[in-house]
């Protein structure tokens, strides 16, 4: 069974009410779209209910939009649904009925849930009238409060036993029907049923197939027939001929379904009053800034105690293991590799949970659409969707939850572009690196007598990252993820009380998908990185107690320059030399692939100051004291080049793991890594070589 409906009609709430237990998240075969389904208990006989993405109509131009049609009719590998449950918004019947007409025309067995009936209580549409007019079973529901769910379940059970398809009569122009018959003649056997449905499917093809659509599995014959029709119908407006009669049928039906047809429902008027404040040029932006500040603050600071708790817990766990297990390879693998890896995964949970909590509340209340409305002007110039704002902002805390948050955008292209630029934002893992470099290599002096150089540099790094992000978005949006010009069509749903239940459930779902799918990749990478630093083994490693677990750096094992990572660092020294880095920084960069802040502790190992953090003086002193040819090895110019490299390079396997999860491909994470690495190298090269030419020292 399928659950379909327009966006913002309470489909997810209804899905949760109907299925009760946890939703299963899988993948549609062959395409990168997530399939969400749950079990529905119909008095002993379990049924599978698939939650389809929200859609205004069945016409499609991309594979994701095609799912609805294919699963409703059982075309091309999708199992045919026994029944479709169509969710309508009781307060916005006119627009919602369009989808009903399409489904009825295609003879899909249907049960209608007239949802959010509580919001239309002064002028409720009558389910009985809908049944009478369209010949399909209709039930009034209010998924938020659980009203009508039992009746809906009963109706679903009844209809599954003896499915009924509805009836509509739409007065299409004869010429269009002629065209449809022409296309219907080209339908393959698997798409045919009876004359009426063939005609409806032909109308779907006429409305969807284009020279430049991205549809899959449309038979060549159908494509040709559609092209023929388009040629011979030059001068006519096929879309208008198809859509206008449907709305005429809706307009004719509405007075029978409602006590009165409202052009401006009370719910809308109430929303508009709220919008007068929330979309006000001054007050609106003030509220917006405060809300975004709260989201940012939560990700940046409120998640800290939980993150520390996880890190401490992991450290305690590895201490225990170190205590009870005999020293050796297995213990090192468990302590440094496995526990470290698990720590690397669950350390993201506090931020993911917080971000999805906020996004759920913003989305559910209707405010997220207002964010898009407010910010569209700013983001459209660089080809990003207005809804990209919250994920981008989250990128300042951490790219991992931010990439997961791109899900709030409907179009894959918008999601992809946002995902590809988020890792350029200055995430919190870069801060320890900047702190160390700035404190060690730049003097605590002031410019213009009052502006501290060090603080200025930190601000400069933020500005640099914002500018880079915008420029890259601009370029990628016009090249790699170029799409047809994408006009914005944004719905501003009425404000509603957010439902914590739905939010929490989504949050648990997203967190468990992250743990299951991205987590395994992160764990595997941590173990590989551990092995790089821990091998080849020395004959008798001496254990160093009290090593923090969250870091992949092994305490005993080989001296770092003899490890594979060390050797690799030395081997690539010539590659990074033009950026001003020596092999010690290179080893740090290799270690930083686990997570950027690991750079600091890896450098600590390189310099033999043991486990350390960015504020420890010994490491800073060592870095300052490093000399080459009698002069300081690391100049401020090297520091700047290093920071620019860290600002751009994709030094984060966890980000790559979530991008792989969200795009369901290795291609995009590979591209992300490649473009960021190349860009980072080029930028650092320019900074270092340019700086040398300008005389800022070697």
């Amino acid at each position: 069974m399928l659950l379909l409906g327009n966006p913002n009609v309470g489909k997810t709430s209804l899905f949760n009410r109907l299925t009760g237990e946890r939703a299963h998240i899988g993948n549609y075969p062959g395409i990168t779209v997530e399939e969400r389904w749950g079990r529905l208990d119909l008095g002993g006989t379990p049924a599978r209910l698939v939650d389809l993405p929200g859609a205004y109509s069945l016409s499609a131009r991309s594979p994701e939009e095609q799912i609805a049609l294919h699963s409703a009719l059982g075309l091309d590998g999708q199992p045919r649904a026994d029944l479709a449950v169509l969710v309508l918004d009781a307060g916005q019947l006119a627009r919602n009925l369009y989808l009903l007409l399409e489904l009825v025309e295609l003879e899909v067995p249907l049960v209608v849930a007239v949802n959010m009936i509580d919001e239309a209580r002064d002028n409720p549409p009558s389910p009985a009238a809908i049944t009478q007019h369209f010949g399909v079973r209709a039930v009034a529901t209010d998924a938020r409060h659980g009203t009508g769910i039992a009746e809906l379940t009963r109706a679903i059970g009844d209809e599954l036993r003896r499915p009924t398809t509805g009836r509509v009569s739409i007065a299409y122009p004869p010429a269009l029907l002629d065209d449809a018959r022409h296309v219907a003649g080209a339908l393959p056997a698997a798409w045919r049923k009876d004359a009426a449905r063939d005609l409806s499917l032909a109308l779907w093809a006429l409305g969807s197939v284009d020279d430049d659509d991205e549809l899959v599995h449309v038979p060549a014959g159908v494509r040709t027939a559609c092209a023929e029709v388009r040629t011979r119908a030059a001068g006519r407006d096929l879309d208008e001929e198809r859509i206008v009669p449907r709305y005429a049928a809706i307009d004719a039906a509405l007075p029978k379904l409602h006590a009165r047809v409202e052009r401006h429902p009370p719910k809308r008027k109430a929303s508009e009053r709220v919008d007068r404040v929330l979309l006000h040029p001054v007050a609106g932006f003030a509220v917006f800034l405060v809300l975004m500040l709260i989201v940012f603050q939560a990700l940046f600071s409120w998640s800290d105690p939980a993150i520390s708790l996880i890190e401490d817990g992991m450290a305690a766990l590895s201490d225990i293991l170190t205590g009870v297990m005999p020293a050796g390879l297995l213990r090192d693998l468990l302590v440094e590799g496995v526990i470290g890896g698990v720590g690397n995964v669950i350390v993201f949970l506090p931020q993911i949970v917080l971000l999805f909590l906020f996004i759920g509340l913003l989305e559910d209340s209707g405010y997220m659409s207002r964010v898009a409305f407010l910010m569209d002007r700013v983001l459209k110039g660089i080809g990003l969707h207005g809804r990209a704002f919250v994920p981008m902002l989250s990128g300042f805390a951490c790219a991992v939850p931010a990439v997961l948050a791109t899900r709030t955008m409907e179009r894959q292209r918008d999601r992809l572009l946002t995902m590809l630029v988020i890792p350029l934002m200055t995430c919190s893992a870069r801060l320890p690196v900047y702190t160390l470099v700035i404190a060690a290599l730049f003097p605590p002096s002031k410019v213009f007598g009052w502006m501290p150089v060090q603080g200025l540099l930190m601000v400069g790094m933020y500005v640099f990252s914002i500018v880079t992000t915008l420029l890259v978005a601009l370029v990628l949006g016009r090249t790699v993820v170029k799409a047809h010009r994408l006009p914005l069509i944004l719905e501003l749903p009425p404000y509603r009380m957010p439902s914590l239940g739905v939010t929490l459930r989504t949050l648990v779902e997203r967190a468990s998908v992250f743990l299951r799918e991205a987590g395994t990749v992160i764990l595997a990478c941590t173990i590989v990185l551990w092995a790089l630093l821990a091998f080849p083994r020395e004959p008798a490693p001496a254990p160093a107690p009290g090593t923090a677990a969250a870091e992949v750096v092994p305490a005993p094992a080989p001296a770092i320059e003899d490890s594979y990572a060390g050797r690799l660092g030395k081997a690539i020294e010539p590659v990074f030399a033009p950026l001003g880095f020596d092999w010690k920084l290179d080893v740090g960069i290799i270690g930083a692939f686990a997570a950027r802040e690991v750079f600091v502790s890896t450098l600590g190992l390189v310099y033999g100051v043991g486990d350390t953090d960015e504020n420890a003086e010994p490491l800073r002193d060592k870095i300052r004291a490093e000399t080459a040819d009698g002069k300081p090895r690391y100049t401020p110019l090297v520091g700047l080049s290093l920071m620019v490299f860290f600002a751009i390079a994709c030094q984060c396997m966890s980000t790559l793991a979530v991008v792989k999860r969200e795009t369901k491909s290795y291609r995009w994470p590979a591209f992300l890594f490649a473009y960021m690495s190349v860009l980072a190298y080029a930028a650092s090269f320019i900074v270092y070589q340019g700086g040398k030419i300008l005389g800022f020292g070697p």
Binding site: Q92, V244, P265, S369, R377, P487, E491, L492
Partner: protein, 102 residues
């Protein structure tokens, strides 16, 4: 595009107009028409985003937002008080148009 004909982008806030023709790229106009913006439909300009774009429209009891550049290819006529008919599409629109009833 005929610059002399008023488009949705020419409306002032609270103006009500009737759609005459939806222009633009096929995928865009098809989606708009499927959302109910077919010729003959009453549209009210509810608001403009604080930064000047996009526009918020009221169509068939629901709210939709599109950008000004996209709105400029949707030709409209002035809404008469009652039956939606082809209105004189001459010069600019007077904001004295019919206010929402009901």
């Amino acid at each position: 595009m005929e610059p002399s004909r008023p488009s949705l982008a020419d409306l002032a806030i609270r103006d009500v107009a009737v759609i005459e023709h939806v222009g633009g790229e096929r995928a865009f106009r098809r989606r708009l028409m499927e959302l109910g913006l077919v010729p003959g439909t009453r549209v009210e300009l509810v608001g403009i985003a604080p930064l000047g774009d996009p526009l918020e429209l009221l169509v068939r009891g629901s709210s939709l937002s599109i950008r000004k550049t996209d709105a400029s290819v949707i030709r409209v006529g002035l809404a008469p008080m009652a039956a939606p008919e082809k209105a004189a599409g001459g010069a600019g629109l007077e904001p004295a148009a019919a206010r929402g009833e009901s």
